[in-house]
Symmetry: C2
Subunit: 175 residues, 2 copies
């Protein structure tokens, strides 16, 4: 086990900033391509990250602290962002992700002022008993998995363009 | 085929900046962990990116333009960074990657002032005939594949910490 609150916050505070520097000003071709039917493009991934900030991590953390295992978390709809009617520009999305993440880190730091809280448990609708430290670890790795997805979706666009270099470019290997 | 010089440069100029915002100031625990025996940690990946800027992309582009298929590219040692004696801090590495990338984009823009050049060919020591547009596409996807590797290596650290969330975190799926 490696979880450490300070080190986790290092990742949580960097993800939206790094994505802002990576994605702002990119041509639509990079932002709107996907990996085929039913897969997400880059803007959809960022929208999903925003939805998770609003409805997943902090509300669940608060439920663990307030309710313990007494009441299961409401399910988080991982596809809710696909129903959005008002589409934002990538710049607006990244601004929103940065703002809400900063607020959420602030809430996290206020609520978890002692390591003792990390062992508190809640009830996940599918997994059953989960610990706060697992929820927070998943929040960090969720950032990393979707950052990897963003670059993988962009790489897909040049799949045939790289010609024989395909062999050395692991990101293009079919799963 | 989707290759476009302007759009490729968008990625090439953003990678070192995004990595700077992502990795600067991170705890050593994130920078020095790897995925097991014989795999690279984050600082080794950044060092490999620097080596490729020095010895791979631009020298090969120049060989295509100057020699065509007359002379094969010298092989690029993909493990040369592991022999480095003077280790730099991550901050120094990222500064070097940003500087050399900026120079290389400048060289690229000076040398490729017409789409015509993209069809020029060279001789790869393993692949045989390759086109300049394939080399440039591979340069872009090389950035993306190593960015994905960096976040995957960091995610590895929390493999067991996420508990049952493992199921939803694709980055932790064993290849």
């Amino acid at each position: 086990m490696h979880f450490n609150l300070k080190e986790s916050i290092e990742i949580l505070e960097r993800t939206p900033k790094a994505l802002e520097h990576y994605l702002s000003g990119l041509s639509e071709a990079w932002l709107l391509g996907n990996e085929g039917e039913g897969t997400w493009n880059v803007t959809e991934v960022v929208e999903h990250l925003i939805q998770a900030e609003k409805h997943n991590w902090i509300p669940r953390m608060e439920m663990i602290l307030q309710e313990g295992e007494g009441k299961p978390f409401p399910p988080f709809d991982r596809f809710s962002h696909l129903q959005q009617v008002h589409k934002q520009t990538i710049k607006q999305q990244l601004f929103e992700f940065n703002s809400i993440r900063a607020e959420n880190i602030d809430t996290l730091q206020k609520l978890i002022d002692s390591e003792v809280y990390l062992e508190k448990t809640g009830s996940h609708p599918e997994f059953g008993t989960v610990k706060l430290r697992e929820l927070l670890s998943a929040w960090v790795v969720h950032d990393l998995t979707h950052t990897a997805q963003i670059v993988r979706v962009m790489a897909e666009r040049y799949r045939t363009d790289v010609g024989p270099w395909m062999e050395y470019l692991g990101i293009l290997k079919k799963k």
